[in-house]
């Protein structure tokens, strides 16, 4: 069976959930081989084996973190030439998509972004125009490069050997032109990442102020959820921009999405419409967000949300 390369997303120690999703998807179409950049492969090996990685190609150099995107694309192009894989899977994160873009240019290959499923013949399913249309697409030139939307696939374990193979490759100077000089981590406590979270709680204009986002955070923490915000809330400076869900922000498709005090302008819906279950709290019964709701409460969020948090607390104790 032909190999499928899976570019690992990790923090130097732990592999991210999206990589286990990619491995699950890759197994159905070939033999998954993880590409690991930088350090930490030994520690993560057990986890990669648990999700069926046959091999782990390790390129341990600080260059992959010290320079923007280009080194990873160069490494993958090298591995395509050497291993002739059937496809390359990356996570459809900002960086993953950019790696895919550069790799496509380098190898003259087609790239599909934001894929939510893969059928036989590597036909990718994509959801476009804010979820209004589902498209089946495929790559017809080169090695298919497929960026898979986080949370679109449920990770399922299956044992693999995860045999480690060191890749002898040095990044060229051409790929080392945009140098990362610092990393600024915003305070967000222990919450899961927005695009990876199974549950997302988002707040909008109805909150009325930045301080009231504490309520959204409380609800999120009671559910182990990530916090999101509508554009109205991020534009008003109530919550940091990187948490914006919507057309000009993040696209999320969690198992459960709670929209609190969000009217549901199309710009917001475009970023959350493909969530599996949607719950809404809004005082305006005419708010368009109710059209998407599996369950909606028409009411004052300052009364409904504290009661919901209390009720979740009671149930988790019981």
């Amino acid at each position: 069976m032909a190999e499928i390369l899976v570019l690992a997303e990790h923090d130097g120690e732990t592999v991210k959930k999206v990589t286990t999703e990619l491995l699950t998807l890759a197994r159905a179409h070939g033999e998954p081989a993880v590409v690991w950049t930088g350090e930490g492969a030994d520690g993560a090996r057990a986890r990669l084996a648990e999700f069926g990685a046959a091999k782990v190609y390790v390129a341990d150099s600080p260059d992959y973190a010290d320079y923007v995107v280009a080194p990873k694309a160069e490494l993958l192009a090298h591995l395509i030439a050497e291993k002739a894989p059937a496809a390359v899977l990356v996570a459809a994160t900002s960086e993953g998509r950019e790696v895919a873009g550069r790799l496509a240019v380098k190898t003259g290959s087609g790239v599909l972004t934001d894929v939510t499923g893969l059928a036989d013949g590597l036909v990718g399913e994509q959801s476009i125009f804010g979820g209004a249309i589902t498209v089946q697409s495929k790559v017809r030139t080169g090695t298919p490069i497929i960026a898979v939307r986080p949370n679109a696939v449920t990770p399922e374990p299956a044992a693999g050997a995860a045999e480690i193979e060191t890749v002898n490759f040095s990044v060229s100077d051409d790929a080392k032109t945009a140098r990362v000089t610092g990393k600024v981590v915003a305070q967000r406590g222990e919450r899961p990442e927005l695009t990876e979270a199974s549950i997302v709680v988002s707040g909008g204009r109805g909150l009325g102020s930045g301080e009231h986002f504490a309520l959204i955070e409380q609800l999120a923490d009671s559910l182990g959820a990530a916090v999101g915000a509508s554009r109205a809330a991020t534009d008003a400076g109530w919550y940091p921009h990187q948490f914006q869900v919507g057309q000009t922000g993040k696209t999320v498709s969690p198992q459960l999405y709670l929209a609190i005090g969000i009217s549901g302008a199309i710009q917001h819906r475009a970023g959350m419409q493909t969530s599996k279950t949607i719950m809404v709290v809004n005082k305006d019964p005419e708010a368009p967000i109710f059209e998407l709701a599996d369950f909606g409460v028409v009411g004052d969020l300052f009364k409904v949300v504290p009661q919901l948090v209390e009720e979740i607390g009671k149930r988790s104790e019981g």
């Binding site: 923007v68 950019e98 087609g110 209004a132 249309i133 719950m279 019964p285 009720e311």
Partner: protein, 259 residues
Amino acid sequence: MNIVVLVKQVPDTWSERKLRADDSTLDRDAADAVINELDDYAIEEGLRLQEAHGGEVTIVSMGPEKAADAIRKALSMGADRAVHVTDEALRGSDGLVTSDVLAKVLSRTGFDLVILGSESTDARMGTLAAMLAERLGVPQMSFASKVETDGSKITINRQADYGYDTVEATLPAVVSVVEKINEPRYPSFKGIMAAKKKPVETLSLADLGMEAGQAGLSASATEVVSFANRPPRAAGTIVTDEGDGGVKAAEFLAARKFI
């Protein structure tokens, strides 16, 4: 400083967006056409850098004839001149082909900085800045929420899930921006009037030394096999809070095994 800002005309998110039944390309007649939202921020950043460092701001857009409206808007905000790449043979080009065409235009115009929105609201691939940096062999300064340059060195804040990275490079470079970067200006009446007299160069594929077979649907490395409208979501349960809205919400979450 020679600043080039890339602009794309897209179907308005507020109107119904469709694909054509015959070849699965965007139905440009079905929806109102507007300038891609993030491009306003790219234009604004270009104008601010010009105000600080001098030079010219050139708008480059690839699209059908009516994309001239988007170009006109960019010029009315204050850009100096524009290049419009338009050719029937471009229709249906994917990201790879688009980046090839735009790279050829950029080699022709020359640039110290290329600025673009980090993604378009229609295709939403978010790959163009990376593809252009790769093709042009210049630093990729993408997802910028802040740009600083002294005319030879450039530093950006590159937005990330965890916050941001600071990234440094030497010009020329490709910069893509996120909406946090600035607050775009509105065209003034004077600007709108002035835009009518600004030079717009129109280029065909042949002008770029390309043949029809090198662009468009047939040259693209990807193809749409089929598409379907997403079935509407089943109507949910809506309750009005009568003092027990939070409890009912919790019951729903429990029934669905979320708590």
